[in-house]
Symmetry: C3
Subunit: 354 residues, 3 copies
């Protein structure tokens, strides 16, 4: 169960550079490619001629040419031509609303009539040149909600990421969770602690001493359907913590877009946005590599957890205070799902009445 | 759904050279081996003693010895002996009619009483020393009819085999399809075109200029259950095309025997027969290597098409004029299947009456 | 169908050396680790917090710490602590009776109230310093009873192990099978034969001539649920055979503990115990390597047999005189299963009456 009338990150621009990309999202097999004006299109990945996946074909002047017999599909989902054929009566394939924004391609797999690009979240770090962003993509065989749980409860860092960002003090600082409309915020502040390896390196990279006590913070913000932005950072102790002057701290935003592939698998777009040395491409690459390694550590655990839950459907799990972020996020998701179901029922009724 | 009362190619003689071969055909797990007089036998691949696959055993003086406990199976499917055992009462295993002919081993998985070796097609190129043959075997996870469609519509060459035998002129020459009894013939003639790489090489190999306009032809002949023979070739333009004198052309027969393994997988025996330089084994090897590479390109497309069709059972596909060869072939197959079903019903009735 | 109220070998001590081990046994996913006093514990491999497998965690002072969020599980299956949490009300996980004995860890997956350590078989070779033992573990995708059949009918040696311990004389010596209570004994004695390669090497290793006629014996003893101990050996011919003085023979005990993982897969603990040169570790290693190679030959056959039986559920297999050992063993197992079912029914009734 995932919301359908919403925007998910489908891919990054480099994945459709000069070639189509086939990707299953929310159970739909979709092919993405750039149309004649460079705008991205998302179509059902099924050639109406013989059923071959269109994603095995190629892009020619903004049309997607099937790699089997050459049927050319327009960005609108209608057949644009085929050698020696009149294609006027050919059936169309489903066209998915797609928008390229903030360095990502977003797709809407629900009711097309409701697809309003204004619903795509504003991402300051993606538009402001004072920020730099680097990230990657992992495929993980787990329910998207297990990934949200993971990100909304960072006590796992001490166990899963012991050698990089974990430290015992995380567990000792109780998290505070608040719900603001559809946003869930879980915050944790640690004071006067030594920075763990990842943050020590960040301090050094920022020209700051790495062997002195620091204040550390983690502010996780969930918004539906499954976006989690986490403000993280450290400041030399006594300089104001989260509110310290930039010259005393190293901070960034952990970016997480979680796109369901099926009920039990996801496309996980992870990254980090920072507002220091934004022009330093080498630093971006270094951070990206470190983060990729850390986030890869979650993968094995999440897939094992998913298998264990599937094998024990009768078992209930605990929702502790540290799980409040995930619990509240699931409540928001449930509300969204309920609203979607009601909306669908209403539309069905209206359509009968008409 | 595949015809059962018919001969399929099961294997080539090299596959049973001194050892048994286990292969599933039309859903039946069969072991092939050479009996006491060198004739090929096909038995149910199941040792009546403990159920081990007989194909894991070995051949000893024309008997197939189970590799687990030494039960020796005769070519007739009856147990011929077992150390320290009286085997008179041992149950037999099913024996499949098998014939070795034209360089292939043929098997009949349907009603044994109907298995007439005279129904095996005559293959002139396999018997006449003026011809040479080279070929190979691919396992492909697709319905055998998708492979037939592929071979009866060669417009795919321009897309799937762009670098070897494809060229835009194929699409511009509309194919003509005729049905002659159970045979479906789809022909395409292209005039005054430049030969694509594969045929340029064939012309050179034949001592002919490869940089001059040519006439090219493709004559696909389907016969049930799933054999497709394709006459292909090029002649220097203006010399009579298909009917040109051999000294002006390079031509051959593409040989395709498609044997169902299951409803969605096949053993694909492909090859090429030629009637020039038949004694040139090196040329045979070169052609075989080139053809193997080209035919391997179809594999990925066919398996992706099959997966897409299975995932979209509600979708209908288009039957265009270029698909006429496949469409007519499927009609012949449907007729054969219907006749088989009627025959089975009739036999059941007769048996009740008796 | 496997007995549950019984002890199975779960693992060897080296597998839980400083770390937990996750292993499925009789359909139960279990994690094994050493508790505070070094005694082995077996718990349901499911963290009550979020369902992660506990086996992905680590052992800290005799507690098993979940690798996801740090819940610490006691050897008794009750939560012993979790950072910043009161764990008093946390649900427990199932605890399986576990005993370490004879160099193995034994587990009981049935009714805990019936788990009597005295039911673990006495293994003289494991306790007496005059004996040495070496062994290994294979995972095989077959019903545990197919492995018992294999071990209780050694005529397969001539086919499956032709180059090491097989010889035609095995088949010529009819086996004798006796049932003594729950024990099934199948014996085979071969007189005045040349020793096969494995035994020739054993004679040499024992300082005895290897090129002279010998008497050979195999005495297979099955006891439920699935243990098979096989006395094997050769003596120089005419010296008394099985009863010959040790200076004339080479002999050992083949040890087989077969632990069901699922209905169609097993953990196969194999090994060899010998009472000559017990202090010679190099000899132990050499024998272990040779045996591992030989027993690996069974693996392919057993898995192929299992697949063939599953694909042919309607086929019956033969029970010959050579199969008597397996047949009788299965009868004992059926008796055990029936008793278990009756016991369970009785307890259910008693519990209702109470």
């Amino acid at each position: 169960m995932f919301p359908k009338n919403t925007w998910y990150v489908a891919c990054t621009p480099d994945e459709i550079d000069g070639k189509p990309l086939g990707r299953q999202i929310c159970g739909e097999k979709i092919v993405f490619f750039r149309g004649p004006d460079g705008e991205v299109a998302g179509l059902e990945d099924f050639c109406p001629h013989r059923g071959a996946p269109l994603s095995l074909g190629f892009v020619r002047e903004g049309q997607l040419v099937c790699g089997y017999h050459g049927l050319a599909m327009g960005a609108n989902g209608r057949c644009a031509g085929m050698p020696a054929q009149r294609v006027g009566g050919f059936p169309a394939v489903r066209k998915f609303p797609v928008v390229e924004r903030h360095g990502f391609v977003w797709v809407w797999t629900g009711d097309e009539a409701l697809a309003d690009p204004a619903l795509i979240p504003h991402l300051e770090w993606a538009e402001n040149p004072a920020w730099a962003y680097g990230g990657g993509l992992y495929h993980i065989a787990c329910d998207y909600r297990l990934m949200i749980d993971n990100l909304m409860d960072l006590t796992h860092e001490t166990y899963v990421h012991a050698s990089s960002i974990g430290q015992p003090e995380i567990e000792e600082a109780p998290p505070v969770t608040k719900v603001e409309g559809d946003m869930v915020v879980t915050s944790r502040f640690m004071e006067n602690i030594m920075p763990p390896p990842f943050w020590a390196a960040a301090l050094r990279g920022n020209g700051l001493a790495d062997d002195v006590p620091c204040d550390r913070w983690q502010i996780c913000r969930f918004t539906p359907p499954s976006h989690v932005m986490i403000e993280v950072g450290v400041a030399h102790a006594g300089k104001g913590g989260y509110d310290a002057d930039p010259k005393h701290k190293a901070s960034s935003i952990v970016v997480d877009f979680i796109t369901p592939e099926t009920e039990t698998s996801i496309w996980y777009f992870w990254g980090m946005a920072r507002n220091f040395k934004p022009e330093d491409a080498e630093l971006t690459a270094t951070i990206r590599e470190g983060q990729g390694k850390i986030f890869g550590e979650d993968l094995e655990m999440l897939e094992a957890q998913q298998r264990n839950l599937l094998a024990n459907p009768q078992r209930r799990i605990l929702n502790l205070n540290i799980d409040a972020g995930g619990v509240q996020s699931r409540k928001v998701i449930d509300r969204v799902l309920k609203a979607e179901a009601e909306q669908a029922a209403q539309r069905a009724q209206t359509s009968v009445a008409a």
